[in-house]
């Protein structure tokens, strides 16, 4: 296998990359003048752990058949993934300079036909777990052992298709399929539990035949260890759901306390303050 990093990386590096994901997100959204800051901030440690440590990938060969896959049901957090893929060498970092401009490959949602390293396009909430289940099925048919990580939002749990996929994956014993629920508690119209409650979430996934692991989604060492253990476990026919308890807007104080930041824009002065705060929190 060819990866740009050693098998086990320094936790300090993962923390640093999580901060990098946040500051780059602030920079890119500055270009578009609107974006999902806080949806990225809740997921930054998960992106960092997956891409800088856990996943078996080769940025020089984005179509490597045996690579692990990553899909985003919450595709609106793609702005946080683009800098990671550039950083790893899938494309030059300058490719992001036209983010959201006319004809750009890089928009609010990821496009697999235009961006190397994107394993599946998304944007319509609720499809990704099915897409990932299809990949896991195909992987088994082909005798390949890659894992498929699908990040889903907690608001996404309200989509019926998620539960079709959950039922199907357990029935078909897709143990290479991993759902990662970014349980940040908020969606566009407010708190998930006020909009349409999804708890008891762990019980629901267990009842659908999945193994459930819960983790503090901002403890990057715990996230890394959890996801690595899931990836490397012995095949037993049971898909895994990792529920990552996260905080929407993590890293920027006024976003953590104001849930209305699901979609928004920081004026340049606020963006500067946010970046300072993120960098100040860097380990």
């Amino acid at each position: 296998m060819t990866t740009p990093l050693p098998d086990t990386v320094d936790i300090a590096l993962l923390r640093d990359r999580a901060s990098f994901i946040r500051t780059e997100t602030v920079r890119l959204i500055e270009i578009a003048k609107v974006g999902h800051y806080s949806s990225v901030f809740s997921a930054a440690e998960i992106f960092a752990a997956l891409y800088y440590d856990v996943m078996r990938i080769d940025p020089k060969n984005p179509q490597w058949p045996d690579r692990d896959r990553f899909l985003m049901g919450k595709g609106h957090a793609a702005v946080g993934l683009y800098p990671v893929l550039a950083d790893l060498g899938y494309y030059p970092a300058t490719a992001l300079d036209d983010y959201a401009h006319l004809g750009s490959a890089f928009g609010d949602h990821p496009d697999m036909t235009k961006i190397p390293g994107i394993d599946f396009s998304s944007g319509s909430i609720g499809h990704a777990l099915s897409n990932g289940a299809g990949m896991a099925l195909a992987g088994r048919m082909a005798g390949r052992d890659f894992s498929v990580f699908v990040m889903v939002g907690d608001g996404e749990m309200q989509e019926g298709q998620v539960w079709e996929a959950a039922l199907s994956a357990a029935h078909h014993r897709l143990d290479r399929l991993v759902a990662i629920v970014d349980r940040n508690g908020y969606q566009l119209d407010g708190a998930v539990d006020d909009v349409v409650g999804v708890e008891p979430l762990a019980d629901k996934w267990r009842a659908f035949g999945w193994r459930v692991v819960e983790v503090d989604g901002h403890d990057v060492a715990a996230v890394r260890d959890t996801l690595a253990a899931v990836r490397d476990r012995v095949a037993d026919g049971v898909p895994t759901c990792v529920i990552a308890r996260t905080s929407k807007g993590k890293g920027v104080s006024y976003m953590e306390t104001e849930p209305g930041w699901h979609l928004g824009y920081l004026d340049p002065e606020d963006a500067r303050r946010a970046t300072e705060e993120i960098e100040g929190g860097r380990a």
Binding site: P65, M112, D119, N131, G132, A165
Partner: protein, 326 residues
């Protein structure tokens, strides 16, 4: 066209001698692809008996996935499978596939340009008394509006099988619109298929019927009967509704009195609309009559009763042509 109707090798002869060719052809076409080394897999949503995929499942259990009554999941999963190099064929009733799963088809299959083959079966009003939930008279319209999605409506099982074989070299995702497998056979078993190409069975100076799917056979029969009355009625089978054979439509416009489109579908958005779009943008134009379901939810009855009621059988087409020419 020959007026002697029962020559071996004629479409009339095949129609009388075929039993239930339509849906067996789906599994047989998939067998052909397997034999050719194509990486095909098949899936369905609790309808293996209705679509005949039970036969494919028996022969190739390692290439078959049962998705249960989860049509949207099936389409999205098929797209995921296709990213690994497989070519999934997923089949369910057209009313569910093209309408319930429309957004999954748009986002996961067409937008991503995956080699997924969507097979909507029991199209139109062929599910008779099962009613509107099971009728599909909007599927051409919805599928045709999705960028990059090819729409094919074969006339019979032989053409379906040929189209499946030909699909091996077709890069775009495809929506196959097939009926319930009881369609009279129009083509011989060795017929070929070319995407985007209409088939002109007969030239007509007075009228040309441009039909797809289940309307091809009645159009041929109607043309024969009208020919006996001295009318010159042409028949074009237009199995690929998208991309449409625009050249053939423009060519017809210059050499036939009236074009009548015939389809087991709402006249809004289907083959008739596709032909109208070409004619409206062509110099000269032509008189066009769109025949099909006239923007209503169909009544229920046995299918043959419905075809008679909506004038989608040969008797009906004869009457439509006479009306148009009167």
């Amino acid at each position: 066209m020959s007026m002697s109707t029962l020559q071996p090798g004629s479409w009339q002869y095949r129609a009388l001698n075929a039993l239930n060719p339509g849906l067996d052809a789906l599994s047989l076409g998939l067998d052909d692809l397997v034999a050719a080394g194509e990486p095909v897999v098949a899936g369905t949503a609790d309808l293996t008996y209705s679509n005949g995929l039970i036969e494919f499942q028996r022969r190739h259990p390692d290439r078959f996935v049962q998705f249960g009554i989860s049509e949207q999941h099936m389409v999205s999963a098929a797209a995921g499978m296709a990213t690994t190099g497989l070519t999934p064929f997923v089949a369910t009733f057209a009313s569910f596939l093209a309408l319930l799963c429309c957004e999954q088809i748009r986002m996961d299959v067409a937008y991503t340009k995956q080699r997924v083959r969507l097979v909507g079966h029991h199209t139109g009003i062929s599910l008779g008394f099962y009613g509107t939930s099971h009728h599909a008279t909007e599927d051409i319209s919805t599928m045709r509006a999705i960028a990059g999605l090819t729409v094919v409506s074969p006339a019979d099982g032989a053409q379906l099988r040929a189209a499946i074989r030909a699909s091996a070299s077709w890069p775009e995702p495809i929506y196959f619109r097939i009926s319930r497998g009881r369609d009279p056979q129009v083509y011989s078993d060795d017929v070929g298929f070319e995407f985007g190409r209409g088939i002109e069975h007969a030239r007509g100076a007075d009228v040309t019927i441009v039909a797809c799917g289940t309307l091809v056979h009645p159009a041929l029969e109607a043309a024969e009967r009208l020919h006996a009355e001295g009318l010159s009625v042409g028949v074009v089978d237009m199995p690929t509704v998208k991309p449409l054979d625009e050249e053939l439509i423009r060519s017809l416009a210059g050499r036939t009195g009236v074009i009548i489109t015939a389809e087991e579908h709402n006249i809004l958005g289907g083959l008739g609309s596709a032909v109208a779009e070409v004619l409206a943008e062509s110099p000269g134009g032509a008189r066009l009559v769109r025949h099909g379901i006239r923007d209503e939810f169909s009544l229920i009855a046995a299918p043959t009763r419905l075809y008679a009621h909506y004038r989608l059988d040969a008797d009906g087409l004869v009457a439509v042509v006479r009306e148009v020419l009167s």
